[in-house]
């Protein structure tokens, strides 16, 4: 729980045993407003400044249309359903790749982390693949898989695989061997040690990998859709720019930012649920 939340709890507690006069309600409202501003004030100020600068033509509105126009473009795109298809196809590409990466990297990482010779053998090649930009390999994937869905999904998969795999491996390797010895002393079999000690102990590292991979997935999604696609949010950003529909371009950019925020928040929530024991996660 954050300090802010504790602070709010104290305020509520204080109010509930006092008389509920108008002044109290007012003070409570003021406190909530201050909290809101301390959190989102700068963001709000940035948007207001953008709006004013664009309307007053301090900024070129052709390049930086005011946020209200962007919102209108976003609303049009969503209410007419035109952007839904793009959102769906983008989610499908990133989602499939991400799920495939999770399904392969986590079991493989757990296995590699526990068996030292395997890890030693595979580490150099993993380091090489990781350091080779997935985008640089995209033309290779296009040659192999064509310009369709397969190459896009594969390039996202490729880029998300390594952060997840390497974090899972290091999570297993950094696990305290004394805990494993403790479990052995109680007569735990290998599988029990894996299930009760190795797996739960690796979860925090896996989440570091998941969050890195989710960010990478979106990045590669956009890049691959900009290079060779005729649908998807990344394509819409490029396409709107070609057609000089600048508010629509920004609307698509905001959708991408929103997808990033939502996916990260979902992972944070899941992590809090699974790692309540870990002080750093709450």
């Amino acid at each position: 729980m954050s300090l802010e939340a504790i602070g709010r709890g104290v305020i509520v507690g204080h109010d509930s045993d006092g008389s509920r006069s108008g002044a109290d309600v007012l003070r409570r409202g003021a406190k909530a407003l201050i909290w809101f501003l301390s959190r989102y004030g700068l963001l709000l100020g940035f948007l207001i400044l953008w709006q004013a600068a664009s309307r007053a033509r301090w900024l070129n509105p052709a390049v930086f249309p005011p946020p209200d126009l962007i919102l209108a473009a976003l609303w049009n795109g969503l209410s007419s359903g035109a952007l839904f298809g793009d959102i769906a196809i983008s989610l499908q590409r990133a989602g499939l790749a991400f799920v495939a990466a999770v399904a392969i990297a986590i079991p493989l990482g757990l296995f590699m982390g526990q068996i030292r010779p395997v890890e030693r053998l595979l580490d150099p090649i993993l380091q090489l693949f990781r350091q080779t930009s997935a985008l640089a390999l995209y033309p290779v994937f296009i040659l192999l898989l064509g310009l369709g869905e397969a190459s896009k999904i594969f390039v996202i998969f490729w880029a998300t695989l390594f952060p997840l795999l390497l974090n899972t491996i290091s999570g297993v390797k950094e696990l305290d061997p004394k805990l494993i010895e403790m479990a052995r002393v109680y007569g735990a079999a290998r599988l029990t040690i894996f299930r009760r000690v190795v797996l739960p102990g690796t979860v925090p590292s896996i989440f570091v990998g998941l969050r890195l991979s989710a960010t990478t997935a979106l990045l590669l999604l956009i890049a691959s859709e900009m290079i060779g696609a005729n649908s998807g949010i990344g394509f819409q950003v490029m396409n709107a720019q070609y057609n000089f529909q600048i508010p629509l371009m920004f609307a698509a950019i905001f959708i991408l930012a929103g997808l990033g925020l939502v996916s990260n928040y979902a992972l944070v929530l899941l992590e809090r649920r699974l790692c309540r024991w870990n002080g750093a996660a709450t």
């Binding site: 305290d176 004394k178 805990l179 010895e181 403790m182 479990a183 052995r184 002393v185 109680y186 007569g187 735990a188 029990t192 009760r196 000690v197 739960p200 102990g201 979860v203 790692c275 309540r276 024991w277 870990n278 002080g279």
Partner: protein
């Protein structure tokens, strides 16, 4: 044996036990032909300078390491690796950080195939025994070092071992907590009737807890010594005889 009855201590027989380590190509013997009989319900405390092999001996008894030669019998049976009749308390509590106190104490029983409900019910008893009843839901990061070590002790007791092996269990605690825990250990040992074999570097702790103190020699050629601590319990640290035992141990280490 009825699970609710206090377990009877196990008998340990050590015959001609030797173990050496190879460090940088040099072979260092740490145990040489050790003979020792430990009676059921006895408290044996092992002291010795660092490198004298006291922790090695305990790890061999735990079944975490194998000896080069010689044998260890528990209740007449040679040990082969870790065994359910023995439990180990380490210097670090070694709690699983993702389990609360209750989960950690129940861990040993759960690993041995007890049902979750049964293990936890049993664990609560021992959590109360070590005085942590109110902290059953706390996570390891929320409790102090002394409390964590109590959790480790409770976890070991929950599996109702015949033999409790303790590797400097109070070594990392502050002086105050240490004194309290020494008293606690004496109480638990008497209540449970378990055979206790403990390694320490604290000579006063050895005199306070032990029926017999095993002194491992400084030089590899030297002989081990066994000192009977013939004092009534509860022991008084300021009493003359207590102080004399302590001095006797100090002399073993050439300190006076």
């Amino acid at each position: 044996m009825n699970a609710m009855e206090p377990p009877r201590g196990g008998r340990v027989v050590i015959r001609d036990l030797s173990k050496s380590f190879a460090i940088n190509g040099r072979v260092l013997p740490v145990l040489r032909g050790l003979h020792l009989d430990i009676s059921p319900g006895e408290c044996l405390v092992i002291v010795g300078a660092s490198g004298s092999g006291k922790t090695t001996l305990l790890r061999v008894l735990a079944g975490l390491e194998s000896a080069d030669s010689g044998k260890v019998l528990v209740d007449g049976e040679p040990i082969g690796g870790v065994g359910t009749e023995r439990a180990v308390i380490f210097q670090e509590p070694r709690l699983l950080p993702w389990l609360n106190v209750l989960g950690n104490v129940a861990f040993g029983l759960e690993v041995r195939g007890a049902s979750r409900a049964q293990a936890r019910e049993h664990a609560r008893e021992y959590i109360d025994l070590v005085g942590l009843g109110e902290f059953a839901d706390a996570y390891p990061r929320q409790i102090s070092g002394g409390m964590a070590q109590r959790v480790g002790i409770a976890r070991a007791l929950t599996v109702q071992p015949e033999i409790l092996l303790l590797d400097e269990p109070l070594g990392a605690l502050d002086a105050m907590t240490k004194l309290i825990m020494q008293e606690e250990l004496t109480r638990i040992w008497r209540e449970e009737g378990v055979t206790m074999i403990m390694v320490t570097h604290d000579l006063e702790e050895a005199v306070y807890l032990a029926d017999r103190v095993l002194v491992l020699p400084r030089e590899k050629s030297g002989a081990v010594r066994l000192i009977d601590i013939d004092l009534p319990r509860p022991r008084d640290r300021s009493e003359n005889r207590f102080v004399r035992y302590r001095e006797e141990l100090l002399r073993e280490f050439g300190l006076n």
